[in-house]
Amino acid sequence: MTYHRKSYAVWEITLKCNLACSHCGSRAGHERAKELSPEEALDLVKQMAEVGIKEVTLIGGEAFLRPDWLEIAKAINEAGMLCGMTTGGYGISLETAQKMKEAGIRTVSVSIDGLEATHDRLRGKKGSWKYAFKTMSHLREVGISFGCNTQINRLSAPEFPCIYECIRDAGAHAWQVQLTVPMGNAADNADILLQPHELLDIYPMLARVARRAYQEGVQLQAGNNIGYYGPYERLLRGRGKEDEFSFWQGCGAGLSTLGIEADGAIKGCPSLPTTAYTGGNIREHTLHDIIKGAEELRFNLGAGTPEGTKHLWGFCKTCEYAELCRGGCSWTAHVFFNKRGNNPYCHHRALVHAKQGMRERVVPKVKAQGLPFDNGEFELIVEPTDTLLPANDRLHFTANSIQWSEGWQQEPEFYYSFVR
């Protein structure tokens, strides 16, 4: 039977990390000043079960660098919640994988952000790609179900079809993909971010790869900033089933999702900026009270009333999907413009502009401060498509940048007809 996620917490149990990713939103590396004690962590597990959380994913930093991480996993399992983990995979030995299995970790997602050179460059550690695949082999050996997750940006996008072949061959059963957005370290490396008009070349590629992944038993899962309402929406959002109602239905922060930072800060979604979206700290309030009362976790309530769309501005305010979409992923919109409600990463929007002979670009305007989960601010430029692009924009992505290996040249004709 297919498992459908109902209420879900992503818990950063430490900010300590053994990689140094240039796109890391939390700027992970050193642990936070006051991370939760083992006793506080176990109490939080109990509170999560009480408020209705059914699934918890442990993340970092690198989750396994927290000494009591397996005790936390075991407690989550014993409280009746499904325990998963997302990891950079740099250092999970066969012995550790066996301990994870014994602690009740049911699913693991390993981050793969390119082919070897690109992955190692983005993740700041030579050898991290090789070890990530070694980790997958260890997980497979002990019988833990695993998948991968990939950031799509100007460095990884050209390699996307080849990345798929690597993770498929490694035995991944699922693949979550997401566009890199300007938070944390990524805000300082804006040249690697896709421009909104480049989505016109990203989505046909994504659809072609997704189609094959579904055929070959790898469940490609569209992250929350993949979309919206373009020609491949149902394929990507429906995970290959293309059900007639498989399309984006608004941000789920604080509705079905919780984000927890290692020092006890509670947000409606793990990706949201700390300053603007922290509803309270578990050291000062119960989880029940934060969820019930904090405005920062209630901003998605009120859909279907004027309250539900009053935050929209720019293109999103006038869009025909506005009432349901409500500006797409709140995190993505906020980190571009320092407020949510106008989302430049939208396929439908890029298509509308292209039809009018226009395109959108984003240009850094205000730098990020240098804190975990922070953001700067970008200026949005709308210009005719024949305007010359800035000469210093060397990483410009086009369909011609994509590396289709030999395996893709031999694919059946129907793949092409689908994405045409």
Binding site: Y229, S256, Y321
Partner: protein, 37 residues
């Protein structure tokens, strides 16, 4: 409801929509626009 039952009702997941009817109307409208695009 008796107060102890109120405490047992899980807080999550919760709906963004105040009205199921309102949600379905907006959902259908979006579906129709997407079908035509």
């Amino acid at each position: 409801l008796p107060s102890q039952d109120v405490e047992k009702i899980p807080l999550l997941p919760r709906s963004a929509w105040n009205s199921q009817l309102g949600y379905l109307k907006v959902l259908l409208k979006a579906k129709q626009v997407l079908d035509k695009s």
